[in-house]
């Protein structure tokens, strides 16, 4: 389908979103990612039964942690996208990209740039 989406997106492949760990997401922010989103199967259609529901909980938990330490929780999101739904994939990428653009660079990066050790 080759639908265009913003070039700010980099994909890390997991067998199931159920494999995602809070550590992975927090580490991405610590290293300076401006946003993270987890793209899994639609709810109720998880290839591994219910991994996506667990991932959703972890994303929500990570969002709370981010809020607590002063990083906007909106920088993390969970999406359900059917494997055949290219248009939705591109739409989600745009949506996330625009949200992050509105938020600006991650506060972590700002701190890092100021020379505080990460």
């Amino acid at each position: 389908m080759r639908l265009t989406y913003p070039d700010s997106i980099r994909i890390i492949r997991l067998p199931c979103t159920g494999k995602i760990d809070v550590i992975h997401m927090m580490e991405a922010f610590r290293k300076g990612a401006d946003g993270v989103y987890v793209a899994g199967c639609l709810e109720g259609e998880c290839h591994y039964l219910a991994g996506n529901l667990r991932a959703k909980k972890k994303v929500e938990y990570t969002r709370k942690l981010l809020d607590e330490i002063g990083i906007e929780g909106e920088r993390i999101e969970m999406y359900g996208i059917a494997a055949s739904d290219g248009p939705r994939f591109a739409e989600v990428a745009k949506e996330m990209h625009e949200k992050i653009m509105d938020l600006g660079p991650s506060p972590v990066k700002r701190v890092v740039r100021k020379g505080v050790p990460s």
């Binding site: 389908m1 080759r2 639908l3 265009t4 989406y5 070039d7 980099r10 994909i11 890390i12 492949r13 997991l14 067998p15 199931c16 159920g18 494999k19 995602i20 760990d21 550590i23 992975h24 580490e27 991405a28 290293k31 300076g32 990612a33 639609l42 109720g44 259609e45 591994y48 039964l49 219910a50 991994g51 667990r54 972890k58 059917a82 494997a83 055949s84 739904d85 290219g86 248009p87 939705r88 591109a90």
Partner: protein
């Protein structure tokens, strides 16, 4: 040989190839996938059709023992069972499949545009094309009929621009003769063409579409990218009508007297999905004769549509469809449920077209000498649903009768079982096996990475500066070799990769090209051939994830490619080899339940050469079928069951254990251990076996309502059936007989339809009229569900004067004693008033309820549905597998079904079990979770989190994950609070390495 590359053919081919047979899969179009590939969603779960089909396509395409012959048609079949000679014609593709890399340049440059049949003409395609992006084989094809070069003698634009030199206009038709032992017909159906009749405005109004066209409209890969708009003006419709039974249940137009069985449920699905597209604002109405949601859990789906989704259902007869008041709209005039004329305007009309047999299948049957029935479906017997009239040729799917995807998959596996039994002596004689050199030990060695960047013609290089990326990559840590190739997937590049591995003693390989989904197996194979463990490969997808989606941003795409390469290299450095362990398979199957399903599975598995233990809880074999006299078609069930019992008892490979119950169960697929308590003395037996089939059947609902058990003239259909042959004289005296449908079905206690009762009522009603034509027989029903060819008998019953009357589903009939007679009072929906029938006899069509399944389910650790039937692993594509590998289910234990359906499913369960037993070893391991016992705190989080119930606390008091059961999802690893579990190949260190590589350099 399997004929037809739809889901039926694919399943049959996979089952056979995995069971030790070499399979030719013949497909007339350019790719496999069939009708299922065109569907948007599948009922009743509304799963995405392509998402579940695509892995099967890939598996089929990559299978060493499946030879896919596309663009091929069978000319003749000589010889006999076990030794057929099939002559077929392979039409030219005009594309060299060894060279085509499916980059799409040819289609881009092709000047000819025409209606795309895959998208039911709603979109355009070029004269050189692939049917759909996930097509297998993923090779373009020149459509000769529409190619300008073939028409006018010049053009060849595709040839000029093809970067792989793959266009070959000199290809000729090839004639081949192939020798095969058995043939399976899986030719499928074509949707009924409503243009045959001019009564639907089809072809005149673009807003009247067939259901298949509507699937494409809904599909994200369809003409409107998944936006629900109507064809005439691309406006979002506000009201859509579905018209049922177009090309079904109609003997007047084109001899379509049968019910197509699937249209009611797919219309419900489409209405629900359409509503979801419009945030529920859309008004949807289904115009129907009877709603036939007789499949497993379909009634709940119907109830959901009616209830929370607000889909309207109009019991009706359509009078006319005419242009509506507003431009593009349509006005439907119909007789409503009460027989009154009503009119309504709709923005769009979907015709729920039936399943039809294409002329080419009729011709094929004739060439093969196979009998068809009066509707041109393959003729089969009540007890031989998969056997055609020519020995050695079997049939499955919609060519045998109208059916849905799971029923097709069941029959496909079943026909594979039949063919396997026939050819069991030849198992493993023709199959190929790959041999690889011994693996290089890389443990403890510093990574030495070779990196290969692909131009993919201009697909990548046209956007990304490949040379810059390659140079950048060569400076990354551990990278010894970085090369660029025009096509990394081409044959010569594989040779180059292997040479590099040897020359530079590479111990990791990174391929920077396209998707792992399509190309990982190829490169894994290549490095394996050079002595590397296949898991030492890492890929960066700079095509699908980069050049294809950032075409207008070359600089950004090149920078992104560098990031992706850096991540892949970082991940590669952390890769470890993964090994598979071989476990021996105990070549014996244990079957629980000795009814028709259990005995059929036993005989087939024994026929395939495996030992069978058949366990029956009762004293005698036979199960529920002992209560049934005849099938709807009039075949003798008692005789059939007696013969089956005889065959099972005398088969040298079948051991029958009666009065036997399961006392204990342990082990994993290939190596189960079952403890049984056998016989009146309940002696203990322990049996080792490799597979298990559940065939425990179901029970008849015992009514508490309608004076049953209180009045001697109130009986069940089964009781009536037993009287028919023995007490004819008594029955002759009955003047008025009332049958009540849905007793114990489609109510709050049991929301599902029991599937068989309508046929049973029709069967017994016809018998009553035959015994006494003067008798009045009334059948009180909610809907009559005589799906498939059973519709013929419903029609016959009406013709001979059986009265079918619809009662209000919210108000059950009232049955009362009255002066030796019985009064049955109900609200008649057609007459819209209450009616009281004075009857001599009341016959209750009692439903099917699950047997006592809970104990067995908990011992086997397999889940049940909320109605206590065994739950299959996947409702569409794994209908006889359970979630526990090596345990299969068939017959009524799965859901209510007729005898022929039970037989098909039993054959399927046998196919799946024997597929496992035909392997000497099972390969386990690879990408599985591993527990570090040092770190495990035995907290049980993994035990609870695993969706497959694999982890357990072992004798050492720590969690253990059995590698033969682990599915590799990684949920346990993510949940483990002590980080004691890692998912191999996706270890935390590897994921974190990618995150670091991505972010640290930026």
């Amino acid at each position: 040989m399997v004929v037809g590359g739809g889901i039926g053919g694919i399943q049959a081919a996979l089952d056979l190839a995995d069971s030790g047979f070499y399979v030719y899969l013949v497909e007339k179009s350019s790719s496999i996938g069939g009708k299922m590939s065109q569907l948007d969603k599948t009922f009743p779960t509304n799963d995405c059709s392509m998402c579940i089909l695509s892995p099967k396509l890939v598996e089929c395409g990559n299978h060493l023992n499946i030879e896919i012959l596309t663009l091929s048609e069978i000319e003749s079949v000589a010889g006999e069972e076990g030794d057929f000679h099939v002559r077929l014609i392979q039409h030219p593709r005009y594309i060299d499949v060894d060279k085509c890399i499916a980059c799409g340049t040819c289609a881009e440059k092709c000047p000819k545009k025409l209606a795309d049949d895959y998208n039911t003409g709603l979109m355009k395609r070029r004269a050189v094309y692939i049917r759909y992006p996930q097509a297998v084989p993923l090779k373009y094809v020149v459509d000769k009929e529409n190619c300008i070069y073939f028409e006018k003698g010049k053009c060849r634009a595709c040839e000029k621009f093809c970067p792989a030199d793959a266009i070959d206009f000199d290809q000729k038709e090839i004639e081949r003769t192939i020798d095969v032992g058995a043939i399976i017909l899986a030719c499928g159906f074509q949707p009924y063409d409503p243009a045959i009749s001019d009564s639907y405005q089809y072809g005149r109004s673009p807003n009247v579409v067939t259901s298949l066209e509507f699937e494409r409209i809904l599909s994200a890969s369809g003409p409107y990218q998944g936006h629900l708009v109507r064809p005439s003006d691309a406006r979002e419709p506000k009201k859509i009508a579905w018209l049922q039974c177009v090309g079904s249940r109609n003997t007047r137009i084109g001899n379509k007297g049968y019910c197509s069985s699937v249209c009611c449920t797919y219309a419900i699905k489409q209405a629900i999905v359409a509503k979801e597209h419009s945030d529920g604002l859309l008004d949807t109405a289904v115009f129907y004769i009877d709603i036939r949601t007789h499949g497993k859990d379909f009634e709940k789906f119907f109830n959901r549509a009616k209830g929370e989704m607000g889909v309207r259902f109009e019991k009706s007869r359509i009078n006319s469809i005419l242009p509506g008041r507003d431009e593009g709209n349509l006005e439907i005039t119909y007789l409503n449920g009460e027989g009154k004329v009503a009119k309504e305007d709709f923005d769009m009309v979907v015709l729920s077209v039936g399943l039809d047999i294409p002329q080419e299948s009729i011709d094929l049957a004739q060439k093969m000498g196979i009998e068809l029935n009066h509707y041109n479906f393959v003729r089969t017997g009540s007890f031989d649903p998969l056997q055609t009239s020519r020995p050695g040729i079997f049939v499955c799917g919609a060519f045998q009768g109208p059916r849905d995807i799971p029923e097709t998959v069941i029959q496909a596996s079943g026909s594979a079982a039949a063919a396997s039994s026939l050819l069991s002596g030849q198992r493993h004689t023709l199959t190929k096996e790959k041999e690889y050199p011994e693996e290089v030990d890389v443990t403890g060695k510093e990574p030495r990475i070779g990196l290969f960047v692909c131009h993919c013609g201009t697909n990548i290089a046209g956007v990304i500066d490949v040379t810059e990326v390659t140079e950048y990559a060569s400076k990354l840590p551990y990278v010894l070799v970085a090369e660029e190739n025009l096509f990394t997937c081409s044959q010569d590049t594989q040779v180059k990769i292997k040479e590099n591995i040897r020359e530079h003693q590479l111990n990791r390989v990174v391929v920077v090209s396209c998707s792992t989904r399509t190309h990982e197996p190829l490169f894994q194979n290549t490095i394996r051939e050079a002595g590397l463990n296949p898991y030492l490969l890492s890929m960066a997808n700079i095509r699908d994830q980069d050049s294809w989606v950032h075409q207008s941003n070359k600089a950004g795409a090149t920078e992104k490619a560098k990031d992706l390469v850096r991540m892949a290299v970082a991940s590669a450095a952390k890769l470890s080899p993964l090994y598979r362990t071989k476990l021996p398979v105990v070549k014996k199957v244990l079957i629980v339940g000795g009814g028709i399903a259990g005995m059929t599975a036993a005989l087939n598995a024994a026929g395939q050469g495996f030992e069978v233990i058949l366990v029956e809880i009762e004293k005698e074999l036979g199960g529920f079928a002992r209560n049934i006299q005849r099938t709807l078609q009039g075949d003798d069930v008692r005789e059939y069951v007696a013969n089956l019992i005889e065959a099972v008892n005398h088969h040298e490979k079948v051991e029958v254990l009666t009065e036997a119950t399961l006392a204990g169960f342990s082990g994993t697929k290939g190596n189960f251990k079952t403890e049984l308590s056998v016989g009146p003395t309940m002696h203990h037996r322990e049996i080792a076996h490799g597979a298990l089939v559940i065939a425990t059947g179901a029970s008849e609902y015992r009514p508490k309502e309608y004076l049953y058990g209180e009045h001697e003239s109130v009986r069940t259909q089964v009781e009536l059936e037993n009287m028919l042959s023995t007490e004819g004289e008594k029955i002759k005296g009955w003047k008025n007989v009332v049958m009540i449908q849905c007793v114990g079905s489609r109510n709050n206690a049991n929301p599902n339809c029991s599937r068989v009762c309508c046929q049973q009522a029709v069967k017994n009603a016809i018998s009553l009229k035959e015994i006494n034509p003067e008798a009045n027989v009334f059948v009180l029903h909610k809907d009559i569900r005589t799906y498939g060819f059973a519709e013929d008998y419903y029609r016959k019953a009406r013709e001979i004067g059986v009265h079918f009357m619809r009662y209000d589903e919210h108000e059950d009939p009232i049955v009362e004693r009255a002066d030796g007679k019985i009064h049955v009072t109900f609200m008649d929906l057609a007459l819209a008033r209450e009616i009281t029938l004075e009857s001599d006899q009341v016959i209750l069509s009692t439903g099917v309820v699950a047997g006592n399944t809970e104990d067995l389910a908990s011992k086997l650790k397999v889940p049940l549905t909320s109605e206590q039937f065994f739950l299959e692993a996947h409702v569409k594509l794994r209908p006889v597998d359970t979630q526990s590998d090596g345990i299969f289910v068939c017959g009524m234990a799965h859901s209510p079904k007729t005898i022929d359906e039970s037989i098909s499913q039993a054959m399927a369960a046998s196919a799946r079990a024997c597929r496992l037993l035909s392997q000497d070893w099972i390969d386990v391991g690879g990408i599985v979770a591993r527990v570090d016992p040092e770190l495990c705190a035995s907290c049980l989080v993994c035990v609870r989190a695993c969706p497959y119930e694999v982890p357990f606390i072992n004798d050492e008091g720590v969690s253990e994950i059995d590698i033969s059961s682990c599915q590799g999802c990684g949920v346990c690893a993510a949940e483990c609070p002590a980080k004691a579990i890692d998912l191999l190949h996706f270890e935390d260190t590897q994921i974190l390495a990618q995150i670091s590589a991505l972010l640290e350099a930026s």
